[in-house]
Symmetry: C2
């Protein structure tokens, strides 16, 4: 299948091109998720989306730029974390952040794209750079900004390390008993530690 | 190059075959490290070691078994962790374990094979199963056995999650300021949290 000048009846071109763009992004997320960054090609993404490779380049540019666009959307739920941190008493910030992030990881629909990014980031330097840029600037620095402490960025990173490390062991490596443990039990253990990282003098 | 019946002057056959075995294992570690589990083949390992594929199968069996043998050796330094936990006052177990594991990660020579295992484990289910078996039975259960607490295994896993998550952010994703922070500063932040996971009621 190829589609260089998409047209369906009764739809204005703008909506049409937004549809195509979304379809390419969805295909990109699935390809990166299934194959990882290195083995995914713009051509493969185009094929999965039922469009011409030129159209993928037209909308997004290089493979790295397609990846960045795909993971920005995958990251959208996680980007509410800074608000989750800001919104409530400081003494409970650890629990709010932990509960929020595990909410994203525990839902298979929001977990899948995160896993895809994660797998690409640990195996490919270009993907790691995109991940770093996005996590650092869009997520951790905003969380850190809420804390108002001189070493807030390091604090936010160590808190993230506990949460991401736990998610990795539970959802990717599937270590037992962690993988089968009740989510509330895990939050009860992880939240106090996240609180310490974020706020303890 | 192929080598089906290795013989060098002045060496007994046993040493010779131990040499060949070690050479295959070293080649396997490098191949898995550079390419990850999926893209590595027994044929590629044999080629890198300068031996025949049949010899690799003869010594180790399947690709999964070569992987397990290669990572068992890579894991050897980490397997001293249970002793590091046992050997000293309980109130300092968090610092001993943290210091020990970061000692392994901070040394490029011992970090490289760990990274290779880790990359393979997050991207391939077979590799994850080998990693799980080794980490769970050889490492975390032994650490847990020292703790003498009913939920010791979950405690050991959450402590490992903090340490591995931090190592991941520092050495793989290279998030700043964590990546450039002084190791002693990181140990000072991580050790109390590891202590909480391992021993706090």
């Amino acid at each position: 299948m190829s589609e260089t000048a998409p047209r369906r009846r009764g739809r204005p071109p703008r909506t049409e091109s937004a549809d195509t763009r979304d379809r390419i992004l969805a295909a990109a997320r699935e390809e990166f998720s299934a194959r990882g960054y290195e083995k995914t090609s713009v051509r493969g993404i185009a094929k999965a989306a039922g469009v011409d490779s030129a159209l993928v380049h037209h909308y997004f540019g290089t493979k790295e730029q397609v990846f960045e666009a795909a993971i920005e959307i995958a990251f959208a739920p996680a980007l509410h974390a800074p608000a989750a941190v800001a919104d409530g008493p400081v003494a409970e910030v650890g629990e709010r952040l932990t509960r929020f992030v595990f909410g994203v990881w525990d839902n298979p629909t929001t977990r899948a794209p995160l896993l895809a990014i994660f797998r690409s980031a640990v195996t490919n330097e270009t993907a790691a750079a995109v991940f770093r840029r996005l996590v650092a600037t869009q997520l951790l620095r905003r969380v850190a900004a809420q804390l108002n402490l001189p070493d807030a960025e390091l604090r936010a990173e160590l808190a993230a390390a506990q949460i991401v490390g736990t998610a990795l062991m539970r959802y990717v490596i599937k270590l037992e008993p962690l993988a089968s443990a009740d989510l509330e039990q895990i939050i009860a253990r992880v939240a106090p530690v996240v609180q310490i990282h974020l706020t303890q003098p």
